[in-house]
């Protein structure tokens, strides 16, 4: 990778990143995970080398977080990153003290390489680029005889660490959204801070055919299936009165032509108000389609983004000392999170250069659930599969089961993989 200029010894956190270290804790980690399932056992020493080489190309990840008087900031980290065998639940809080102060953690298990990333560092899009570099390098080091010529010579990407929020927000933009609290998922939680992971590996060709039939995108379709599964699996039983609201993160880099490696995302909230006793899937899908066409426009995204930037740029908020900001933000975040039932983040296709594809089985993307948003969903696709992942702290799999059964009824092949915490639908495989 080519950088615009030499990395600074320190840098400010971008507008989104500022809020994460203030609001985060052991129960609210704001960590997401990318995994690559290879076709061979992982060699820890080779992985260690691969991370070292990749990190030298992505120096913006070589940082630690420091406390300032008003905000946190990043400072260069000269320590070695720690590479370990996976031994904990995914997306857990990354304790800098036990991680050589790095804000990401690389682990491995059998044929799988994971990277857990604290959201302050970057968003899913940029983390994917860094992770791909690790995977490319790992494969090259593992098979030096096959990769004696440079396959990636023309694949250099330019990046910078600018705060694209500040650069692109509209000072005059007004967000007129009137917000209603969302339906919050209820149920018994998994004990001892456990996280259940269920991957639903979907045949992308069959899924596309169904989407074409309804004239919707894959994200719209899966969002509708998710809402329908929540409706059938939790909402009806709990006699929910508030709307089911799904938060969909949006990658702003393509909207604003940004090459930043820092966070640059916003979100839209898809709201489904279940007024009728019996709401059909088709009705929900129509609703989702309308919500997307209404909210996924440059003007609407600009409004949401600008409102958030203006809040972070408010002089009174800026001048509150960090030790006072922490309790204020933590309390307000508990309230803010009540406006979302669940999050569904789709990072799309993970493009891998042909020569390397044959060494990789699959990619996985996971986001951390928390006390209010008890289920989080994520998806990514590779070759002919899309992996839809549920990460949950709920001690039942009603929603995951409904999701699976619905897709099967639509004649879409779905395979299940899980971390075995709640092995209920794994038996269907």
């Amino acid at each position: 990778m080519i950088k615009d200029k030499e990395i600074e010894e320190w840098r400010r956190l971008d507008n989104s990143a500022k809020i994460f270290p203030i609001s985060t804790g052991k129960k609210y980690s704001t960590v997401f995970r990318l995994s690559a399932v290879l076709k061979e056992e992982i060699n820890p020493e080779t992985l260690r080398q691969a991370v070292k080489i990749a990190l030298n190309k992505f120096e913006s990840f070589k940082v630690k977080m420091k406390k300032g008087f008003f905000w946190y900031y990043f400072e260069k980290n000269n320590k070695k990153p720690i590479i370990e065998k996976e031994k904990n639940y995914p997306c857990k809080y990354i304790d800098p003290k036990t991680n050589n102060q790095y804000l990401f953690k690389v682990t491995y298990f059998e044929k799988k390489i994971n990277i857990d990333v604290f959201h302050s560092l970057t968003d899913g899009n940029s983390a994917t680029n860094f992770f791909k570099e690790i995977i490319y390098t790992y494969i090259e080091l593992s098979h030096p005889e096959k990769f004696n010529k440079e396959y990636r010579v023309d694949r250099k990407i330019k990046y910078n660490t600018e705060d694209s929020y500040i650069k692109n927000y509209d000072k005059k933009s007004k967000n007129n959204n009137t917000n209603r609290k969302a339906y919050i998922l209820s149920g018994k939680k998994i004990p001892l801070g456990g996280i259940s992971v269920i991957h639903e590996i979907i045949n992308i060709k069959q899924l596309k055919e169904v989407c074409q039939k309804y004239n919707v995108t894959i994200t719209q379709y899966l969002t509708a299936v998710l809402i329908y599964s929540i409706y059938e699996g939790n909402y009806k039983k709990a006699r929910g009165k508030r709307p089911i609201k799904i938060c969909i993160p949006v990658n702003l880099k393509k909207y604003f032509n940004s090459i930043t490696i820092s966070n640059f995302f916003s979100y839209i909230t898809v709201e489904a108000d279940m007024k009728n006793e019996k709401t059909s899937f088709e009705e929900i899908l129509d609703l989702v389609k309308n919500e997307f066409s209404k909210k996924l426009t440059e003007t609407e995204i600009q409004k949401t983004m600008s409102a958030n930037v203006k809040l972070g740029n408010n002089i009174f908020i800026k001048l509150i000392p960090l030790f006072l900001k922490k309790p204020i933000v933590k309390l307000s975040y508990i309230e803010i999170r009540k406006y979302t039932t669940a999050t569904f983040s789709n990072i799309g296709r993970i493009g891998i250069i042909g020569e390397y594809q044959k060494y990789i089985n699959n990619f996985l993307f996971l986001i951390a659930p928390e006390q209010v948003e008890k289920i989080k969903c994520s998806a990514c696709s590779f070759e002919d599969k899309i992996v839809f992942t549920f990460t949950s702290i709920l001690n039942n799999t009603n929603i995951e089961k409904n999701f699976y059964e619905f897709l099967i009824k639509q004649n879409i092949n779905v395979e299940i993989e899980s971390n075995g915490v709640l092995d209920v639908i794994s038996s269907k495989n």
Binding site: V37, F70, F109, H199
Partner: protein, 187 residues
């Protein structure tokens, strides 16, 4: 298999909890013995204060094992509190303010001066602590001016050493100090 089946569950820090229980038990025993034997001399309170000092130092050392300057700062604060408390418990003869704290300030500033000279390349790490130590070190001036503390030579020497150390640091590493202030106070 994609995930390990045996997850390392939350390990409770057994040793830490055991040490806390032992500390509390010893404290209770000391208070009882003190009350039963020599109730007029509060030696148990002094012993407990000492134990609290050890705990604060140990916890800080475990959590923040990177920056020596931060240890100097923490020590200057907690030892000051400890000596003032001991002085107060023994009848407040002001030896803590007239003798102990000035010696503490001198030691801390000399330590910071040595740190600056020995590792001025890493000075940016120490800059903010140096600034806070200096600000704490000149507090005795205000005490001397505004209260009945004896204008003893030790206090004057301590403040002089602090000022000298601070100016030496500014001359040697003023740029780093400015940079660190920008970092720490950016909005």
């Amino acid at each position: 298999m994609l995930y390990p089946q045996k997850i390392s569950a939350k390990k409770c820090n057994f040793i830490k909890r055991l040490l806390i229980v032992i500390t509390v038990l010893i404290s209770i025993i000391l208070i009882i013995i003190n009350k039963l034997t020599t109730p007029k001399i509060p030696w148990a309170a002094l012993s407990i204060a000492g134990m609290i000092y050890i705990w604060v130092t140990a916890i800080y050392s475990i959590n923040r094992n990177t920056n020596i300057a931060s240890h100097v700062l923490v020590q200057i604060i907690i030892i000051s509190i400890l000596v003032v408390y001991i002085d107060y418990t023994l009848g407040f003869k002001r030896w803590s303010i007239n003798i102990a704290i000035p010696i503490l300030i001198m030691t801390a500033n000399v330590a910071m001066l040595v740190l600056t000279i020995v590792s001025h390349k890493k000075y940016i790490k120490y800059a903010i602590y140096q600034l806070i130590i200096f600000l704490l070190s000149i507090v005795p001036i205000f005490i001397i001016i505004n209260s009945g503390v004896q204008k003893n030579i030790l206090n004057i020497i301590a403040v002089s050493i602090a000022t000298l150390s601070f100016f030496v640091c500014i001359i040697l590493c003023g740029k780093d100090m400015k940079e660190e202030i920008i970092r720490k106070f950016h909005t």
